[in-house]
């Protein structure tokens, strides 16, 4: 259990995908304007990340690897993710309309969210077991959510700041992202002390 917690918390705080690994920057910049869209997007990401891990891990370990087809993993994974997102969308629309209303518009965006493909590939690269992979993808999802929420708060203040004209808009947003990312350095080394 301790090992699972270490995987979970290091994915959330230390190796935060957005702020220290630079994965999933587009949605991070795109939907952090207000808390509501940030919430919807991160919920959808957590949902799809966990599900796609649950599907791609068995595909790799029981289908591709035993037959020596490991080199096909990129093609297979991206197609599985694309199909999965489509299936989830159709399923939610028919069966769970409230959830569809909350997540619906974010789902199509997720196919090309690099965090999803990155997590499924990382699980294989780190040779995690199935349970470890699930915890890892949950950690990445919650880390994404945390970064998005913190940044949405910072961004609402940046809008009122008086910045040089050429830095207005995206450039100043990136510079403030740099400061948020700097604050995450505070978590370096946390994991060893937390669970030792």
């Amino acid at each position: 259990m301790k090992e699972m917690l270490i995987i979970l918390f290091s994915a959330i705080l230390v190796d935060n995908y957005v702020l220290s690994k630079f994965i999933g920057i587009c949605p991070f910049l795109g939907v952090s304007k207000n808390l509501k869209t940030a919430m919807g997007m991160s919920m959808a990401v957590i949902f799809v990340l966990t599900l796609s891990t649950a599907i791609t891990w068995p595909i790799y370990n029981f289908l591709l690897d035993p037959f020596g087809l490991g080199y096909l993993q990129i093609v297979i994974f991206i197609l599985v993710i694309a199909a999965l997102v489509q299936i989830i969308e159709t399923f939610l629309k028919k069966s769970v309309p409230p959830l569809y209303r909350a997540l619906g518009i974010y789902l199509p965006l997720i196919t090309t969210n690099c965090a999803v493909l990155a997590v499924t590939l990382m699980n294989i690269e780190q040779s995690y077991t199935f349970i470890q992979s699930i915890f890892y993808s949950l950690g990445v999802g919650f880390g994404f959510m945390l970064a998005l929420f913190l940044f949405a708060g910072v961004r609402s203040k940046v809008d009122y700041a008086d910045v040089p004209k050429f830095m207005k808009g995206l450039p100043i947003t990136l510079v403030s992202a740099s400061l948020v990312s700097l604050s995450f350095f505070g978590f370096k080394g946390l994991i060893e002390h937390l669970f030792s």
């Binding site: 795109g30 869209t37 919807g40 197609l79 518009i105 196919t111 990136l174 990312s181 700097l182």
Partner: protein
Amino acid sequence: MAPRKKVPLIQEFTKGFVHENPVLRLILGTCPTLAVTTSVKNAIGMGVAVIFVLVGSNVVISSLRKIIPDKVRIPAFITVIAGFVTLVQLLMQAYVPALNDALGIFLPLITVNCIILARAEMFASKNAVLPSLIDGLGMGAGYTAAVFCMSTLREVLGNGTFMDIPLPALRAGGYFEPMLILVLAPGGFFVFGIMVGLAQKLSEQMSKKGVPAPDLCAGAINDNTACLLCGGCSLGRGPAGETAMDRMARQADERAESRKETTDSPGRNDKGGSNA
């Protein structure tokens, strides 16, 4: 989807450098850009990989553009791109294993790099093979130029080296103390922010001199396509700085509102909104 005007091939090539630079002006493919620019060597390696995949996929997609059905075009494009990415990965593993290790997860992530998908959707799927090839080369070269500049700044100022060659004047004891923060994650965001600002300024000045302003939003074809491609377009180009993402969220809200009003009509007001 107006037919494109005849553009000289050389212009297809040069537009990728400043005016329509994929990284600094179109803000595509941000993730690998930030991640690989810690050293000039990695940046060049990534640039070459992107050029290869971009040219390959542009040529294949443009030659298949009449065969691929419109409805499944995005999955078809992704499959083609993933094929080329696998090719690059296998080649790099075989011939430059050190570079392969340094790029790590970002090599397979070229698959979902929006530069390539956006070029496939915007250009290759509606142009002949030769212009698509040139477009791929130009965009790839523009990408490489941008990551080269960024990585030079970060490596020289952050580490005191260039292409792993130490620069004594910039090392401890020289004129300047290297700022390690620039090679770390926050420095990536910072340098990128400054460079996007400068490119914005430069492009504005070019527009004043009569170079027509480029159509920046990749979603020009269809309001939401490009933003679907990029997993959330980060540029507010709608009225009042609204991104396509914001607009979609607002429209969904409005739809939910109108639905509520119809279900709240007399006779069904005990359980508003829920339908079995």
